[in-house]
Symmetry: C2
Subunit: 318 residues, 2 copies
């Protein structure tokens, strides 16, 4: 049975969903940070340019963490100037991760106007990732956010382990809400609720969003960041959209966590997300063909196939 | 970072979902039919026994199609007697596919009490799969269903290409509704709505279910059968559950359609489904550990890893 080119899914809107979703593309930062291979700076710059050409309007570019901690992104100083004009001229938002004031200085010096900090909802992961307690980490971020806001930068607060933690198991909602509240209170414009180990299911997603609303944290300030470890990322995204969420994190080609490796913690693939949103008649501005071609190209650079089912299905048709 | 055993997701029910879902396990039939390797009869029997031991209560066992058409299932006559006692003693439903009256005779002679016929919503697939028009295929099934009903057998009607067709593109809803109506009118107790090429998205699912309800085809008589070609199977399942569907087809380990092959038309993996349903607090009766072990074992028999993300994640923890 030969299968001629199918094109995109038929658009059939569903009740109660947003008309437009902003995809926060994390492939170049979260994706490449978690790939074994270190990609040359020029390749990263081409990747980001191709993502922008495919219609992505928010592309997290890199991380100004100490080069020793994340060698994959040690070239932030060299990379950012190569993509900066996308922000100035093209209107593409190019947030960068900063772990502390030193990182903030480096990012601001290069002209970054959107930054992100990376907090944890659990003590175990705060300890493992930042070697701090949750509150010590929040205290570290406080001057970072304050100074960024003083310079009119947009600040995103990542919160990892919002649903489950590999050491602590299921994470109680009040614990997550407390750290979200703290990040909002210090001035974060937007929060990204991370299911870092991919264990969440749709009811849990709705429950967390509801709990945050009850604490006067409004849905428009909330993004979701799901991992496909157990194949749940897209159904969790659907639940979030049904709750009114309009910012969804995804990684081109599912970069970040090899599905063949021991820890299969891959990000939701942007292509799988775009397929669903297109089918739902939700505008993303993304050209799925260009995006898929970009992910196939990047998979070639990394020397392994994309784990995205949509990338595989579309690229096998060629 | 070591990840100790996580166990199951936290159960957080979502509003408006059923409390119980019946999984119609298709791995032994639809799965193995679409695998390249032909599995020995004794291995198939062990597979079915292990699926039953894992708590699956409806296990499609085999197909009484002409052996020439589907060589993978040419051993139906030998296999069915090896598993039949699961039905008689253990209460496991063991439906079998029958393409025509000859197949029905063979199935009934061996004591089958649940049969399934396999229709198409599109002319192109009816022609490709059955070498008949849609109406010619329906005419062929009419005496099969009538005779099965006369013997008090339960009859399931599969309907393939309900959302998109590789030759015809998107399939108009009235076309699908017409064939569903015909299958119901000839006496099918249950219909399984198939997204054979995996292109559906949640709004399309809801629209089809609504259109069928408007034609007085009630939701309890409808099952859904999604493929993960574009990673959409689980979010489509969520939409179906939200509409009240309580019968979901899935294939242990995602058997049926190799994700590395050109036509990556794999079935929804039962484990990915069970993870979501467990997280939603929906009873399935399935022991995810036993099921995963069964899929890992079967993957070993087939000589390729399971494409199920849950199977990979759980088995990598061992």
């Amino acid at each position: 049975m030969t299968t001629p080119e199918l094109g995109l899914p038929m658009a059939v809107p569903a009740e109660g969903l947003p008309r437009k979703v902003r995809i926060h593309e994390v492939g170049a930062r979260d994706g490449l940070q978690n790939e074994k291979a270190t990609v040359p700076t020029e390749t990263k710059a081409e990747f980001i340019h191709r993502l922008a050409a495919a219609g992505l309007t928010t592309i997290e570019a890199t991380s100004f963490v100490h080069p020793k901690w994340v060698p994959q992104l040690a070239d932030a100083e060299h990379l950012f100037p190569l993509v900066r004009e996308l922000g100035a001229q093209g209107g593409t938002a190019l947030p960068v991760l900063v772990p502390n004031e030193r990182g903030l200085d480096r990012a601001l010096d290069l002209g970054a106007t959107r930054i992100a900090v990376f907090a944890s909802a659990t003590e175990s992961f705060a300890k493992a990732n930042l070697n701090r307690t949750v509150d010590e980490a929040l205290a570290m971020f406080e001057p970072v956010v304050a100074r960024a806001k003083a310079q009119d930068a947009h600040v995103r607060g990542y919160l990892s382990m919002c649903f489950g933690d590999p050491w602590e198991g299921p994470v109680p909602l009040p614990q997550v809400v407390r750290v979200c509240r703290a990040l909002r209170d210090m001035g974060c414009d937007e929060l990204s609720l991370g299911d870092t180990i991919g264990v969440a299911t749709p009811g849990h997603v709705t429950a967390l969003l509801t709990a945050l609303n009850e604490e006067n944290i409004p849905t428009p300030s909330l993004g979701v960041h799901f991992h496909d470890t157990y194949g749940q990322a897209l159904s969790n995204t659907l639940a979030a959209l049904q709750h009114g969420v309009t910012t969804v994190d995804a990684s081109a080609g599912g970069l970040g966590g090899c599905p063949y490796a021991k820890s299969a913690t891959g990000n939701l693939a942007t292509e799988d997300l775009v397929w669903m949103l297109t089918g739902l008649g939700i505008d993303t501005g993304v050209d799925l063909g260009l995006l898929t071609a970009t992910s196939v190209w990047m998979a070639g650079q990394l020397g392994r196939p994309s784990p995205s089912r949509t990338v595989r299905a579309l690229s096998h048709k060629e």
